[in-house]
Assembly symmetry: C2
């Protein structure tokens, strides 16, 4: 077999794998939005059968033969081959019985977590989580050997290809040099200003949905290739070429659903902007979680809470809900959108205090993986860490170490990507405005094309053809640092 023929066989094979993964994406969306509740058991069988089919294809012995011979002729083919190898390493490093045990343990631990959280009962979760953590370590060990990394970095690599904890340590240490003081100063400055005026509801769901769709269209979301629906936990899912985002509504306030829609729209624009001619090939996917989160946070945090965006959006918001008077001014909406508070819950945190929540989880999960923290001591370590990093102590585990699904779902190595995404978003938006200075003025007029054009060229259209680091250097001139993020927080919260 020639090197070219082997490469062709690989791309044909991975096109099939990509299409089956797309099916899994649609199935996942359906389970969260449309599926009748009584169908969960049948659905679990369907998802398992699909996972097995994908896993079998990745473990097809011919893949190793093709990989031994294949060469990419073009730079794109070389990059795709690199990503195919990465995909295969992650899929084949772990023995099948460990994959099975992990799937079962995850499902049990996740199910137990739902009850344990509701009942504030960490002890109930502990044995399940202990089994799962053991398997996560074994998986990490197997992948670490294949990748030549530490166990934690092998886990991180699943979500953040090429990500290394040594780099994260530096970034998070840089954050620690200024975030505590900055948070103090922001809260003090905020306390000196009058509280924002109340925005009284109720806000009908249908109106909120129409407003969300109006903003999605303005940002460039193509409803011909995507949808907006409702789910308990908002997400961006579906499949390449068929991007489906969700939100959830409360009639008491329109802010959470609106900001949620804008956040997921940022994810969706990335997915929609991926190189279509590589659809289904490993090179055609989004690069990794930090870059993905950067796109949602760029839209939600950098853009949607800015003066420019609210200049555009406030009249639409007023019109939608029939609001008038000073409570419905740009300034008052902006005050709502940039309110800072120390809180217990990560997903409710503002962009100033959010990194502290992530740094806590990052510290704890590294200690859990390397064994220096025993799971039984997690609740105490969580309380201590919250006091140290966020400045408050949770009264219980429900709003403490039981609040997130990630660990019970087997996701270790995921948390740091949130804050890397926030820093990346700041760095990208600063670079975008430096390159295309009219971006904020155009946004104030409701024209997002200059921003979207820049993002498509620099981020979305590249897919996985380059590493996260190289993409960021090409787009912004430097690797990830805290500089832009710090400047952004200072400007918005101290100097505005």
């Amino acid at each position: 077999m020639t090197a070219q023929a082997a490469y062709k066989n690989l791309t044909d094979h991975f096109a099939r794998i990509g299409a089956l993964r797309a099916v899994a994406g649609i199935l996942g969306w359906d389970a969260a939005t449309m599926m009748p509740s009584g169908s969960a058991e049948a659905r679990a069988e369907q998802q398992a059968a699909l996972d097995v089919a994908i896993h079998e294809k990745l473990n097809d012995p011919r893949v190793q033969e093709w990989l031994a011979t294949a060469e990419g002729a073009s730079p794109e083919a070389k990059a795709n081959l690199h990503e195919i190898r990465r995909d295969v390493v992650h899929a084949t490093a772990v023995p099948a019985d460990l994959v099975d045990a992990f799937a079962r343990a995850t499902s049990e631990s996740e199910m137990t977590w739902r009850t344990a959280r509701a009942e504030n009962d960490f002890a109930a979760l502990l044995p399940k989580l202990r089994v799962l953590l053991g398997l996560v370590r074994d998986m990490g060990q197997a992948k670490a050997e294949a990748l030549g990394t530490s166990v934690y970095d092998a886990l991180l690599d699943q979500f953040e290809p090429g990500g290394r904890s040594a780099d994260i340590d530096v970034l998070f240490a840089d954050l620690a040099t200024f975030l505590p003081d900055l948070t103090e100063n922001v809260l003090a400055a905020q306390a000196r200003r009058p509280a924002p005026l109340d925005l009284p509801g109720p806000f009908p769901v249908a109106t909120q949905k129409a407003l969300g769709e109006r903003l999605m269209r303005a940002l460039g979301f193509d409803f011909n290739r995507g949808r907006l629906d409702v789910s308990h936990h908002p997400f961006c899912g579906g499949a390449p070429g068929d991007v489906r985002i969700t939100t959830r509504y409360s009639e008491d306030s329109f802010f959470p659903a609106m900001m949620g829609v804008l956040h997921e729209t940022g994810h969706a624009l990335y997915e929609i902007g991926l190189p279509q001619h590589h659809r289904g090939q490993p090179i055609g996917y989004a690069r990794g979680m930090s870059l993905h989160e950067s796109q949602s946070l760029l839209v939600e945090m950098q853009v949607s809470r800015s003066q420019a965006f609210l200049t555009f959006a406030t009249p639409l918001i007023r019109e939608a809900f029939g609001g008038s008077g000073p409570a419905w001014s740009v300034e008052n909406l902006r005050a709502h959108a940039t309110r800072v508070a120390r809180g217990l819950i990560r997903v409710n945190a503002d962009e100033v205090t959010y990194p502290a929540h992530v740094i806590l989880r990052y510290r704890l999960e590294r200690a859990l993986i390397d064994g220096s923290l025993d799971l039984a001591d997690l609740p105490g370590a969580w309380r201590d860490g919250m006091q140290e990093l966020v400045g408050i102590t949770p009264p219980d585990d429900k709003d403490g170490c039981l609040q997130d699904i990630h660990w019970p779902a087997g996701l270790f190595g995921y948390f740091p990507t949130y804050t890397m995404g926030a820093m990346t978003a700041a760095q990208l938006y600063a670079a975008a405005q430096a390159a295309v200075p009219e971006i904020p003025d155009e946004i104030a007029k409701g024209n997002f094309a200059p921003l979207l054009g820049w993002l498509r060229e620099k981020i979305h259209g590249i897919g996985s053809a380059q590493s996260t680091r190289d993409i960021l250097i090409a787009a912004t001139g430097s690797p990830l640092s805290v500089t832009s993020f710090r400047r952004h927080l200072e400007q918005r919260y101290l100097h505005a």
Copy 2:
């Protein structure tokens, strides 16, 4: 390997196949109800990848090894093994390149048909349909050799396991002895009565949907394991344990959507009532298309257009739409529900004239398959057949031989199951009432449990454990005949 171990391997393997088929069902539902229009191309890749994965599993060489050794220990296992063999024969009889060519030709011919029908242009479809028909014949030939049947019977067997044209010929000949005169007499009797009073709209979609759901619940549809949505062509789809029906609404009349919902509910009750412990195994599926159609027509035709059902439903209909006066009487709604007319379009036909539409298609498709009718002569043969069998001549091909998607979609051997289903429905409902005489009175009170209980025991719960013929004999005491259907039509339309 022991016979038991081989059987166990087969059932494990077919559980996976069944789960992947369920995924395909959810995907098909999504494509018709939820998918953004621009995602069709990506979806085609997904469906193809899934079809290939299923096909690969059916063609796994181990399946033949297991089949050579396996024996079923229980009667159920024996029946399941019989169905597994049937499944494998249909999947493996046709060479892979022919399967591929058929899939491509179907897709092209279906696409061309959409335009050709809209533009009344049979000539545009002819070359595509000719290619497809050739491939259908080749497939039929390959399956005929494997099954030991004629080519047409091999095609029929795909939709109606065990169905044979020799039996259909007898049944359709029996219909021909009385249907033309009966139709004449019904139309004459109808002409002597005053026309039904108009039911003036508009009928809001939301109200129609609520009414449909109300009736579905009454019939026994479990919304915990199914949904009602909207699609251009109504269907019952989804997956075992997750049954999803659709309808379409017009605000001008509530009858089509309501009767459509009731029809699909009949299909859905069959799916919901299949033996859950055999979910995914070949024995666990619905038996075939004639029995499936019998369930929809039993609900829609036998039950929902009866005096008993309308006694129950009329107050709900009146309440939903705020109707009052003589137009909203049970008698007037019944007159609407049992109106007979010779028409051009099969899907709009009443139960008296419907068989003539099917007999025409059955005749023509057999002639197309055996080569005695050339495709180029189809429009003329259609016009002549419509005049002879239905009594009117279509003014064009759009409402003539281009009206149905079946042939352009490669479905030859499907049409007769509609009328076999209508006859089966009549025979089953007669037997149900003979066995449980209170069924109509209970329906008039809105209690469908006696009927549903009988259907679950006699039909739904059996799955594919017996042949259609044996199921029918066990349920009604005799194989399929025209007797009950004839009696039903005479009673409802001549003696009522």
